[in-house]
Amino acid sequence: MEMTRSLFLIIDDEPALCRLLEHLLLQEGCATKSARSGCEALDLVKRFRFRLAFMDVKLPDADGIDLAGRLRELDPGLPIMLVSGSLFEDDVDLKKALADGLICGFIRKPYKHEEIRNATGCGRLH
C-alpha cells in the first residue's frame, strides 16, 4: 500500500536525469518508475497509479504538452509537473496548459532539489 501511495513517474529521455531524480525521490521515501519516451509513459500509466508525473517537454516521440493530454485521458486525475530546459514561464502553450489544469506546475532545468521536493506535495493523496 505504501508503495502505491507514493509512486512517482519520471518521464525524461536523459538517463542521467532519470537516475538523479529517482535518487532524490527515493531519499524522500518515494518510489519511482521512469519512462524514456512518450510511448513508455503511456504504457506505465495504463499499468500503475502514480501520485504525480515529472515530465520533460521534448521527448523523442512526443511533445510534453500533447503527451500530458493523452496521459490524462488514461488517468484523468494524474497531476503532471513539467520539467523542461526549453520552455519559459511566459510560453503561450505552457500558460494555457496551466490554465486548463492539464499540468499542475512547471520546473525549469537545471532545477534545485528543493523545487522537486516541494513539487511532491502537489501529488494526489490517493
Binding site: E14, L17, R19, L20, P60, D61, G85, P110, H113
Partner: protein, 507 residues
C-alpha cells in the same frame, strides 16, 4: 603631284614637242591637266609676279575667273598670310638657293568661309641656267586634318573611358605579354604601366592561379568570345587582391586573334560585404536553432546541477558520490561538445579565401548542430556519409551556410515531425550530397522558383532569410550544381554536386 606632272610632261614632250602641229593640242592637254588636278598651282617669277595659276588655285583663293597673271603676290594673298608665313621671303630663298622647300602647313580662314588647311611646297622651275620661276604647290588637306582630328578625338575619348574606369582594363598580346595597363590597374596593383609593359600577365597572378590562367587563355584564343575567371592579382607591396576577370579576344580585320583584353574588378569590398552577410545569416540560423541548442545544453546542466546538490550532502553513500562526480564530468564534456558545435558555425570568419577542405567534415559538423533542433521537433535525423576524407576547393563559412540552410529548410517542411536524411556519395570526381526530408513537399508549379532570390514558400513574416537562392549562388561559386526534386505531401530532396580536388595534404 609634281612627279606625276613632270612625268606626264616628259613623256609627252618626247612625242609632241617636236611636232609643231601637235603643239596646240599639247597646250590644251597641259591646261586640262593642270586644271584637272585637285592641287592649287601658282607660278611666280623673280619679281614675285604671277606667271600662271591653275583653276583650282583661283577657286580656292576666291579669285574666280579673275586674271591674276602679272599681279604681285601681295595682291593675290591676304597680307596676314604673307606676313605670318613669310611667303615672299621663302620664295626669294628658293630663287637664291635653287632647292625645294619642305612641305608646310598653312591654315587660313577667309572671311565668311570655314577654316581651311593647306599643305604647300615651293619648287624651283629651271628653264635656263638659273631659277626662272618658283612653283607654289598647295594642297587642300582640310578634310584630312578634320578626319585626323576626329580620329584623335575618338582615341582620346576611348582612352579617357579606359583611364577613368574604376576597373582594371588591360590588354596583352597572344602570349599574355602586357601591352596596356590603365590607371585603375596601376592603383590596384601598385605597378606603373612602365613596370609591366612587355612583361607576362601571369607573373602578376598568384602562383596557384598561373597554370590555370595559362590553360584558360590558350583555350580562349582558339574559341574566341569572352570568359570569366577569379584570380588573385599580386601587388607591388607584396600583397594580393582578389579580382574577378572578364577576358575577351581582340581580332584584327582578318578575324585573327591579335591579343586579349581583360577587365578586372577588385572584389575585396564585395567579399567583405559577403562575409558580413554570411555572418548575419549565421546569426539568423542560430536564432532558429537556439531553442534546440538551449534544450540540449540544459539537460547536461541539469544533470551537473542535481549531481552537485547531492555531493553537497555529506550523508550520501560513497558509490553514489562517485556516480555523481562521473555524471558531472560527463555532463560538462557533453555541454562543451555542444558549445563547440555552435562555435564552429557561429564564429565570424573573415577569411574569404577558397582552400581545399574536408567537405564531409563540414557536413557532419552541421548535421550535429542542427540535430538539436531536429530532436525537439520530433525529427529523426540520419546521416549516411562515407568514411573518407574528400576535399573540395571551397570556403568553410559559405559551405556551412549551404548545409545549415538545407537542413533548416527540411526541418521547416516537417512541422509534424518526420525523417531528415543527409547522405553523400562520390562519383566521377564529384561529390553528390543529398538532403532528403519527409515534409510537406514543394508544389510542382513552385519548383522552378525555389532558387529565385525573392521566392519564399513560407507565410509572410516567418521567413528567416535562409533562402535556397543563397545556397544556389554559393554552390555555383564552388563550381557545383544544386537541384531539387519534390513530391507534394511526400517530401523533398535537395541534391548538391561539388567537384572534388586531389588530396595532397597529409592526413
Amino acid at each position: 603631284m609634281k612627279g606625276i606632272l613632270s612625268e606626264a610632261i616628259d613623256d609627252l614632250s618626247d612625242v609632241l614637242w617636236e611636232r609643231a602641229a601637235a603643239r596646240k593640242s599639247f597646250h590644251e592637254f597641259h591646261d586640262l591637266l593642270v586644271n584637272a588636278i585637285p592641287s592649287s598651282i601658282l607660278l611666280v617669277d623673280r619679281n614675285l609676279q604671277v606667271l600662271f595659276a591653275n583653276r583650282n588655285f583661283l577657286e580656292k583663293t576666291f579669285h574666280g575667273k579673275d586674271n591674276i597673271v602679272g599681279k604681285r603676290l601681295s595682291q593675290v594673298f591676304p597680307k596676314v598670310i604673307l606676313e605670318e608665313l613669310g611667303l615672299e621671303a621663302s620664295i626669294r630663298s628658293v630663287f637664291d638657293n635653287g632647292g625645294s622647300t619642305q612641305g608646310q602647313k598653312l591654315t587660313y580662314r577667309a572671311p565668311g568661309v570655314p577654316l581651311r588647311t593647306y599643305y604647300y611646297r615651293m619648287i624651283p622651275v629651271i628653264w635656263t641656267a638659273n631659277v626662272d620661276a618658283v612653283l607654289l604647290l598647295m594642297e587642300d588637306v582640310s578634310e584630312q586634318v578634320q578626319l585626323s582630328k576626329e580620329v584623335h578625338c575618338a582615341e582620346r575619348h576611348l582612352a579617357s573611358v579606359v583611364d577613368s574606369a574604376s576597373d582594371i582594363v588591360l590588354s596583352t598580346d597572344n602570349e599574355g605579354r602586357i601591352l596596356t595597363w590603365n590607371p585603375a590597374a596601376e592603383r590596384i596593383s601598385g605597378y606603373r604601366v612602365d613596370d609591366v609593359r612587355g612583361r607576362s600577365l601571369f607573373e602578376y597572378l598568384a602562383k596557384e592561379h598561373r597554370e590555370d590562367a595559362k590553360a584558360f587563355l590558350s583555350i580562349l584564343k582558339f574559341q574566341g568570345g569572352s570568359r570569366t575567371a577569379d584570380w588573385v592579382l599580386l601587388t607591388a607591396d607584396e600583397g594580393s587582391v582578389f579580382i574577378s576577370w572578364v577576358f575577351s579576344t581582340m581580332k584584327d580585320e582578318a578575324s585573327q586573334t591579335t591579343g586579349l583584353v581583360a577587365v578586372g574588378r577588385d572584389q575585396t569590398e564585395r567579399r567583405k560585404s559577403e562575409v558580413q552577410r554570411l555572418q548575419r545569416e549565421k546569426l539568423t540560423a542560430l536564432g532558429v536553432m537556439a531553442g534546440g541548442i538551449a534544450h540540449e545544453l540544459r539537460n547536461p546542466l541539469a544533470v551537473c546541477s542535481s549531481a552537485a546538490q547531492f555531493l553537497m550532502n555529506d550523508q550520501i553513500k560513497p558509490e553514489f558520490r562517485r556516480e555523481c562526480a562521473e555524471m558531472i564530468q560527463k555532463g560538462i564534456t557533453r555541454a562543451s561538445a555542444i558549445i563547440e558545435n555552435v562555435l564552429t558555425f557561429a564564429r565570424p570568419s573573415d577569411d574569404a579565401e577558397f582552400a581545399p577542405l574536408d567537405i564531409l567534415g563540414v557536413l557532419d559538423e552541421m548535421s550535429r548542430l542542427v540535430a538539436y533542433e531536429a530532436k525537439i521537433r520530433k525529427i529523426e535525423m540520419v546521416t549516411d556519409l562515407p568514411n573518407e576524407r574528400l576535399l573540395v576547393n571551397g570556403n568553410r563559412g559559405l559551405l556551412q551556410q549551404v548545409f545549415i540552410n538545407l537542413f533548416l529548410n527540411a526541418i521547416k517542411a516537417m512541422s509534424m515531425g518526420g525523417k531528415l536524411r543527409a547522405s553523400a556519395e562520390c562519383s566521377g570526381g564529384e561529390l553528390l550530397i543529398r538532403v532528403a526530408d519527409t515534409g510537406c513537399g514543394i508544389p510542382q508549379e513552385a519548383l522552378a522558383k525555389v532558387f529565385d532570390p525573392f521566392y519564399t514558400m513560407l507565410p509572410m513574416g516567418t521567413d528567416t532569410g535562409l533562402g535556397l537562392s543563397v545556397c544556389y549562388s554559393i554552390v555555383k561559386e564552388h563550381m557545383g550544381t544544386i537541384e531539387v526534386e519534390s513530391t507534394a505531401g511526400v517530401g523533398t530532396i535537395l541534391m548538391v554536386r561539388l567537384p572534388l580536388v586531389a588530396d595532397e595534404a597529409p592526413i
